[in-house]
Each structure stands twice: as C-alpha cells, then as structure tokens.
Amino acid sequence: MAAKFLNRIVKIASVIFSCIVLISCTPNTDKTIAISEGASQKQVPEKIDFTFHVKPILSDRCFKCHGPDKNAVEGNFSLHSPEEAYKVLGELKDHFAIVPGDVSKSELVKRIYSDDSNVLMPPPESNLVLEDYEKAILKKWIEQGAVYKTHWAFVPPTQPEVPETDNDWGNNEIDAFVLKILKQNNLKSNERASNEKLLRRITFDLTGLPPTMKQIKSFIENPTDHTYETIIDSLLESVDYAENMAAEWMDIARYADTHGYQDDFERTMWPWRDWVIHAFKENMPYDQFVTYQLAGDLLPNANLEQILATGFNRNHKITAEGGVIPEEYRVEYVEDRTTTLGTAFLGLTLECARCHDHKYDPISQKEHFQFYSFFNTIPEQGLLANAAELPTPYITITSKEVDDVLGFINLQKSQMKEIPVMVMKEMEKPRSSFVLDRGVYNQHTTEVFPDTPESILPFNEYPKNRLGLAKWLFEDEHPLTARVAVNRLWQRMFGNGIVATSFDFGNQGALPTHPELLDFLAIKYRTEGWDTRKILKYIAMSATYQQDTKSTKEKLEQDPENKFLARASRLRLSAEAIRDQALVFSGLLSRDVGGPSVKPYQPEGIWEETTGGGGGSTASYTLSEGDDVYRKSLYTFWKRTVPPPSMMIFDSSSRDYCSVKRQETNTPLQALVLLNDPQMVEAARVAAVGEMIANPGAESEQIRMLFYKATSRLPNEVEIQSLVGYYSQMLKKAENGEINVSEYLSIGRSAVPSELNTDALVAMALTAHTILNLDETINRG
C-alpha cells in the first residue's frame, strides 16, 4: 500500500515547491520556538533564516518602537522592512543601523551589545531584554547579508513537493510531510494505536461522544482500514458530528442566550444555532458557510436561510444598561465584528490596530477602520431600553417560515409562536465611517471606505460591502483564509494546530511546525471544494493521526510538546464532551436536536445571588422540564455574565468574544465537579442500574461493562480485581449504615427501580462514579 501511495505522490508532486519562505525551513526550526527552550542552551544555527530565527526576535523585542506603527517609531528608524532598516541615519547621514554583511559598520550590533544603558537596545526602561543567543542570531544574520523575507503567512500558499520517502510507513501525503520532519529530528513514529483507542479517539474528535459498544465490537472483529474508513464515513454523516462541529462554532461565533452586560437579558438566537447544525449536517462547503454568515442578506435574491445565517454577526454582546451612551456601545459592536473577522477567518489580531497602527503586523489604523466600515452600516441601536426590546434588525420566524424554508429549526420545542432572530441588514442610507482617534467612539478623523490591506491581498473590483469581503476572503490567492481554516481542523484532531496560535498567524504568532504540510492541506481544502468532511477524513486516514500516544523518556525529552508528531497526543475531553459522555454512559442522554436552550442541573442560587433589579427571565434559574435536563451540553442555556460553572471550570470559552482555542487545564475545581456534581452522581447511579438489570448477580461483569462503557476498553485483570475490591468495601459501608442509602439514591431526577437491592446499588453506583472520574475516562488517548 505504501509503495503504491508513493508512486502516486511522486506523480502528483509535479508542481515545484517554490515558496522561498517555506523552503528555508531548516532542520533546526525547533530551536526557534522560544516557548519551549531555555535560551542559554540554544545553538546558533549555521545558516540564519529570517522567518524562523530573526523575525521572532525583531518583532517581539524591537517592533514596539521600531515597527509598523508609524506614530510610535523612535529615532525615525524601523526594522520591519529592509528599506527602513538599511537607510542612512543621523543628522550627518553618517551611520547605519544595518549594513548587510558588515557587522562592524552596523550600529544595531553595537547597540545590542553595549554596556552603556544610554546606548543599549532595547533600552532598560522598555523592560525588554535580548538573550545572548538572540544577540548572536542578529549579529550572524547581518554577517550573512541581513536578508529580509515577507512574513510567511502573507505569502499565498504554493503547492509543495510531497517529500519522497524510503520508509514504508504512511498512508497518505500527510505522513510523507510528517516523516520528513521526524527524520530531520531523528525521531521514529509510534505504532498504530490499539483498535479501541483509535475508535475512541476518532469518535470523540468527530462527534464529541464515545463509541458505542456495538461500534467497538464490530471494529475489533474486523479491524481493517476499510472498516475504519466505513466507520469514519458514518460518523461524519451523523447528526452528532454536526452538533459537535457546531459546538466549536459557538465559541467562534461567541454565541450566547443573553445580551451579556449588566442585567443580561435573554435573547433568542437559537434558531441561528439550529442553522449551524443544519449546515454541518449538510456538509455545506466552508466558503458558502462563511459567505452566508458574513453576507447572506446581500446575496442575489437572498432567501430566509441565507439571511438567518447572518445572525453570526449579531451574536456579540449588547447593552441594556440605562444611561450608557448608545453610540459608544454601537461602536463596540462594530469593533466586535471586526475582531471576529480577524480571529476567525484571518488569524490576525485586527483589534490591535484600533487605537494606533498595529505594532507588529502590517495593518495600519486606517486599514483597521476600513475593515470596520464593512460592518458599520447596520440599522442597529447601541442601547436596549429594557428586557423586552428587540434589537433591530431582526426577522420573525413562525411556523410558516419553518414550513417554507427553515425546516431545520426545531420549533416544536419552543413555547413562542413568533421568534425574533437578529440578523444583518444594510441601512438605506449608509452611515459614514471614520478613523476614530485612539479608537474612541466619537473622535472622528479621516473618512474611510470598505477596503482591505495591500499587505494581505488587495481588494480588487469587488462590491464594497460584506459580500465583496466574503469574495475577497475566498479568492484563490488569499494567503490566510484556507490556512487558518484548515489549521483549526488540524487542531481539532491533534489538540494543537500546525500553527499553535490558531488565533494569530501574524508576526507575533507561532511559526508552523510543518509549513509545507499546512500549505498542502490549505490548497487541498480550497481546490477540492472547501469540503470539511473530506479533509477531516483525510486527516483521520493518515498514519500520523492513528499513532499510539505512548511516550518514552527519550521522546518526552526531545519533543515534550509533540510538535513533530512522533506520537499522538492524549487530550482532555472538552467541557461538553465530559458531561455528554456521562449522559451517554448512563443512557440518560436526550437525542433531541435543536430548539430553545435548556437549563440542566446547576448549583442553587448562583444566578440569584448576583442578579440586580432588572428582572426578566435571567434573574433566577429554573431547571428544565423532563428530559431537557439531559440534553447535550451544546444546548445548555448560556447566561454570559454568569456562565454555567461546571462548563467554565472545564475551560469553556466565556462567549464574551470570538475564541478559536480553549485552554486545557487541570485544576482542583475540576475534581470537585467530577466528584460532586449531582449530574455525575446521578449518571453513575443510572448506569449502575442498567448494568445490574442487564447482568443480575454478576458484580464483576457489571463492573467490567461499566469500565468498558466509560473508557472504551475492557479492564485488565488487575483493574477489575481492584474495582471489585472497592465495590465490596462500599457494599459493606452501605450495609452497616455508614452510607445513608436513601439519601444517596435520591440525588437527581431519575427514579430508582424498586426491585434492586439498594445497598448493592449504592456500591455499584459508587464504583461507576469512580470509573467516571478516571483520568482515562475524561481523556481520549
């Protein structure tokens, strides 16, 4: 198979890899990513590369005063372009900061090595320092000719040559790229993960849920590539996949069920969320998915679905705090949309150019407000008068609209007959946009019009509106859109993107660990129809993805962050997946799709103790009725000022702003949730009930199955013995009254079948609860 594959890729690789930026990715790139290395231990590379060695230093330590922000430039001297850096300096025009190839004439070298604090760069008061290694890099770079290169992410991706490989490891091109870097670092890939682990991994990554017993069994019985492929196909077509992809999109779209400031009144944006699920279910191409959301209303003969999709840009916070100046907040909303465009689609921190030119990236303040002006012509108001006021513009959805075009909206679950959903719309007479001095809402200066920075990609002849912006984003030559999107898909499957800072592809962001692979994937995504399912499947089919997680001392030592992918990463499950898994484990999970957000168990009083006098439906928390308590976490009601604590404790995004990467932390509060949240206790008990009924009298088998369901593998002999011992110990405690059986069994809403022995049930429930708390249970290996 590998040989055949190689033949194929050699043929494919007829396009010569020509991107000069990326070709210079040397074997030593690991040494440039400073976050992992003690600087003192670094070796200065033989050949200095601007992108990987020099620019991270210049950007981080010098650009603040000698960078793209013209107004902040000190000493009329900048380092972000060769023209500026090489120019003659001083009143007498007698010296140079950089003379390519001549260290002795380069003032920069004198300055960074100076002992005189009046001369030293960076100056002591900046609180920035250069390590010796970094000084040596700069010196050697000048020695070698001080060559500049355009920032890699602003150069359009070019088709890289797929590396040839003499190794029989690998399933597709991904592996060839990965193998090349592994070899350069003398690392060897891991074996394929066990069938159980691999299935658990792919099922969680694609659907946010564990595999079913049936899926595991059929895979173990026939663990071929073909079976694996069939499983992936069926996972990708499931509504679970759509919901799981939607969950990530909620973070990106800063979705919430409330307005987000002060009294934090309720809003109804869930029909938009139902559309997102629908779009993923239909595998809508990414370009269409984004175009609908940015500019659906501007499409020719826009239909209601396309208009509904623009709710994306209305998910930002809106204030109803009496007394604020409406315009000040309206400007914040427009800024929020601009920031979201940057973070979600461009991987750029556009917000950093609001008050002044960007300090690190080639985005001027004017260009910031050109982006802003795309979003500034909405007939919206800055301040809501009260809880009942509907923020314009909006559409009203009734059963008629649902019957006609919006069949994917789960209207049956709503009490409301008419649902207002905020959308985008253009003003009849557009508002003018200005550069705002220091970013302040009423400090208008130069008038600006929709446009995009030359440094990224000129705007061409597109209509100067959001639709034009969407077209610009998806132009073939766009250097960022495809890379940013595909990097996020990689992040989903590996924990980290090829660019670890998936929110920042600019000068201060991380460098790609596999630049050629990133370009290869970006081009593949674009040229094969922005087909998200296809790319995810392609990644899942790679041998790289399918590796085992086992790390040896040597691997940990050489590549602690697993940048080179000589193993798979163990990843902690998301907040949603941890709770959803417990619900699946117990069989409690409600599979209803869509509809109004629901209110599952939450500690008593946390809304009430912070609420003000505004009243409204968010003043106090009312548990949902019936099975709605057991819906997927995607549907949990999101009150932005007091978000669900168990979700936040597991690193959910707060939904205040667009977020494309969550933290992955490990804290004592997480332990408390897993140990004491009534949902966890109840889920454990209901799971125990299920096993006691399925395998009456066979405790060991009951425990085996509970373990299997939670970790997707059977326990080994040591583990089962240990758990059986624990069960007996708990049984004794229940029998001798150390545990108050009736109290313990009353936790949660689910009824306890009367035919079961309650002492045994308590012991089995505690055993199930222990299993739910295992590190292995809340991770996917």
């Binding site: 940990l556 949730v673 758990l723």
Partner: protein
C-alpha cells in the same frame, strides 16, 4: 520575572500536557513545577519526577519581587454601585448653602452625563442630609453615617481625589477589577495569583465573598466574570466562598456519603490512575492525582475557615450582630480576617446596593449601617493580631455620585447620578500612611483640585505594595504584552510610608 518564565506560563496554556513532560524531565522545568504546586510530583516512584518546590503553597511566576514588599495580601472591600462620597467623606457645606440652585456651567465644564440625567432641564445642587464632624488627630471630616469608621480614622488613608473614565456600572466595575472597561482581561486577584502564587496549599489564592446591601437590595447586578482569570491559566480564577449550602461550588460530598467514602474513592482513583500513568507515561495523569488531593484538602479547609461559630463573643461585638448571619457584609468581613490569617493572597468582597439614584438619604443610611461597623472592626481586628502590618485593606466603589439631584429634590429627599470625576476611597495597612487625607475636590465637590488619582494609579499602588512594578508585570497574549494597568498608572508615592 524572566522572559523565559512568561513563555513557560504561555506554553502551559497552549500545550500544558506536553510541557509538563518537559518539566518532568527537568529541562527548565523547576519554576513551572513549583508554579503548579509542590505536591505535583510527590509520587516520584520511577525516579522521573523530582521537581519539588519544597516550601508550602504554590509559587507564582515572579522569580523575585521587583522591590521589597510591604504587604503579603490584600482585602478589597468593594462597594458596588458607586457610594456617594458627599454623604460619607467629602464634606461640602457649600452644597447645603446653595441647595436647589443650578450647578454652574463653569463647574460642569462639559462633563459627560449618563442617559439618566442628561434629559433633566435643571441640575439642582444638593448637600448631604447628614452631618459631618471632625475626628482623629488631624481633625478629619467624617459623616455621622460612619461613627465606627470615624473612630479609626487615624488608622486609614482617605483618598478624596479618585477618578475614573467609565460612567456606567458594567464598564466601571470591570475597569477597577481588570484595568479595562470591556470584559476579557484577568482580574486583580488572578494577576496576583499568577505572579505571587499562594502561601496556603489548602485554599485558593484568590477568594471572593458577596453580600447584598439593604440600601437598595435590587440594585446593580454582579458578574462572575469580574473574578475571572481572563487569558491567564484557570488555576488563577477567583473562587467564590458562599453562604449557601455549598460554600464553594461542588464542594460538598454527595448526600448520604461521608469523608471516609470520599477518601476511599480517591484512593481507588489514585491506584488506577497511577497504573495508567505507568503505561502511558503522560505526566498529566500525575498532575490530576495531585489536583484531586488538593480538592480533598479543600473539602476540609474551606468549611474549617468558614466556620466562625467558635469566634469569641467580643469578636461578634466588634463586627456587630450581623456577623452571625452568613452572607452579610459583616459576616464576610469576619471571614476575610480568617482568610487573611490563613495567608490567602487576595480576598475580594463585593457589597451590592450603593446605586442610589433616588431616595438616597433613606437608602444610604441603611447601606452605611451595613458596612460601617464591620469595616472598622476588620481594621481593628487585623491590627490586634498584628496582621494589619502586612495586609492592605481597600474600601471603595467604581465611581462617585453627582453633587446635583437626580429626579425631584424635596425637603427630605433627593437622588444622585453617577459621577466619574471625583470620589472617595480609603486604604489601610502595611506601608500606607495613617490618618492621612489625600487629594482635594473643589467646594462644589464636582472636580478634583489637588492630587488626582486614576484607577490605574490605584492599581499600580496596590501592586507596588506587594513588591511588584506594574510596568514590569506583564503577560504576553495574542502577541501583545498585557498588564493590569494597561499602558498607564503611576504609584501614589505620597500616601506611602
């Protein structure tokens, strides 16, 4: 703090697990290991995990302080809603003399108004309905509403010249707590937990206590994001200690079970988790085991510190009878002292209800009574235990109130709108001058005429007392170095000993 340390913390968030791997291998990992907790690698069974910070508690990211610290901890008594400085501290007899006259345009000088009074035709001046007397060695004017505060005026430093940029609650409170008006940045307590760590390995470094005032019980809301960790690691988030059944969210064992049952579960978990660690070599599993142990310790330490029933009678006399009612401001002040004794780094109280737009005289009487005795008692109590020397206590809200009446001015009642241009706070404790009044407002109580103190100046001063240079204490996120004081702030040297 070295660049390396900052980058390590960043790496911790970007890719914590694999970074721990590195820490475990001892490559530049000592600092990080201590950041996470000294029990992290207590197992050490295979000889790989040797990093151990030794001392109790959890170290912060700062290798060493920027200068010697005056205090080790902060108690911040946040008065939410904007207390009226004119009824409490800033005595302006002119306002009583000219009651009902319009605020001169020259004094207002283009000040931005909130939407609540911008529609008023008139801005009638109004003085305090409550008397003021001189107190203490320096004859400091204090309102009759604050008899207990008046008695300890020689212990505190009153700043009458605070000002802010925000004029509405949400942005103004967020500004005080995070240095930025828009949400998303870490709050002060998170910054301190990140920088200085904790000195108590059984309690969180940043604790939060809420109480609802009687002045305007349905006043302004609070937002849990005010004690959020922003872009810092979630270990640094504020943990709310509640008067509710669950003193910390999810702290109580499930109904019907006991600590022994919990212990048995943790032992079982540790055994199985450890086995799994031996198979996978993922150091994150070891870390999880230690987090479970910390959670277990909190299950004892939190109820212990919150159980005030053994406090002697004289203490309850000091704090007032409310101190026996959990969840009141007085009870929280007593709790704050107990947390300070346990070396909790940052103790944040919020007392709601100061937003008195109308019927201010009635409301502020009740509200002042809520806080006066307990605030004074806290100072006295810390002092008698020798804790005031290394604790900084802060009292204040997010902005002040206008010198003119909002709504109808009658013989007996009036209201006041938000006023950002001047308001009063006080500070006490280590390194703060005692009995000092700093800053001055004009005779209308509308503008500052001497020694203005901006919110960022206040934050810079607070950090300074803890040994931190606010300009050097940064965190790089999304390419930019953020700090609590944004790009401004000057330490108020004049009020420091």
């Amino acid at each position: 703090m070295s660049e390396k340390k900052i980058l390590e913390e960043r790496a911790l968030i970007l890719n914590r697990r694999s970074f721990l791997g590195k820490a475990a291998m001892g490559i530049g990992g000592i600092g990080l290991a201590s950041l996470i907790g000294n029990n992290l690698y207590k197992k050490g069974s295979n000889g790989l995990f040797t990093a151990d910070s030794g001392a109790g508690g959890v170290k912060g990211v700062l290798d060493s302080l920027h200068h010697p610290a005056k205090v080790k901890r902060v108690i911040y008594l946040f008065q939410s809603g904007g207390p009226s400085q004119l009824e409490l501290f800033d005595y302006k007899p002119l306002l009583n003399q000219r009651r009902g006259e319009d605020l001169p345009e020259s004094i207002r000088d283009g000040q931005r108004l909130t939407g609540m009074t911008s529609g008023q035709d008139r801005f009638p001046l109004v003085g305090s309905n409550f008397g003021f007397q001189k107190h203490g060695k320096n004859g400091t004017w204090i309102s009759d509403l604050l008899p207990h505060t008046a008695k300890m005026v020689d212990d505190i430093c009153i700043i009458k010249s605070m000002y802010t940029e925000a004029i509405n609650h949400d942005p103004a409170v967020t500004f005080f707590q995070t240095g930025s008006q828009q949400p998303g940045r870490p709050s002060i307590g998170s910054w301190l937990s990140y920088g200085l760590g904790s000195e108590n390995e059984n309690l969180p470094a940043f604790t939060v206590l809420l109480s609802r005032g009687t002045g305007r019980p349905n006043g302004q809301p609070l937002y849990t994001r005010l004690w959020g960790n922003g872009f810092l690691h979630s270990l640094h988030q504020g943990v709310q200690f509640r008067a509710a059944k669950d003193p910390v969210l999810y702290l109580n064992d499930p109904k019907g079970t006991t600590a022994q049952v919990k212990r048995a579960m943790l032992d079982q978990l540790e055994e199985l988790n450890d086995q799994h660690f031996q198979e996978t070599g993922d150091p994150e599993i070891q870390s999880r085991i230690s987090q479970y142990e910390m959670a277990y310790r909190m299950q004892t330490s939190v109820p212990d510190v919150m159980d005030t029933t053994k406090e002697p009678d004289y203490i309850y006399k000091m704090y007032g009878s409310d101190a026996k009612i959990p969840g009141t401001y007085a009870a929280n002040c007593l709790l704050a002292r107990r947390l300070a004794e346990k070396d909790v780094r940052f103790i944040q109280l919020y007392h709601m209800g100061w937003d008195q737009h109308d019927n201010l005289p009635g409301a502020i009487q009740k509200q002042a009574k809520d806080v006066d005795q307990a605030s004074a008692a806290l100072i006295a109590d810390l002092k008698q235990r020798g804790l005031l020397e290394d604790t900084l206590v802060v009292w204040g809200g997010e902005f002040g109130r206008t010198n003119y009446s909002q709504g109808l001015l009658t013989d007996t009642t009036y209201g006041r709108d938000h006023h950002p241009r001047c308001f009063t706070m006080w500070m006490a404790g280590g390194g703060i001058k005692q009995g000092m009044v700093y800053g001055e407002t004009d005779e209308f109580g509308y503008n500052i005429v001497k020694n203005p103190v901006h919110v960022h100046d206040f934050q810079a001063t607070m950090l300074h007392q803890l040994g931190i240079d606010h300009e050097k204490f940064t965190y790089k996120y999304q390419g930019r170095r953020f700090r609590l004081t944004d790009v401004e702030g000057t330490v108020i040297k004049d009020i420091l000993t």
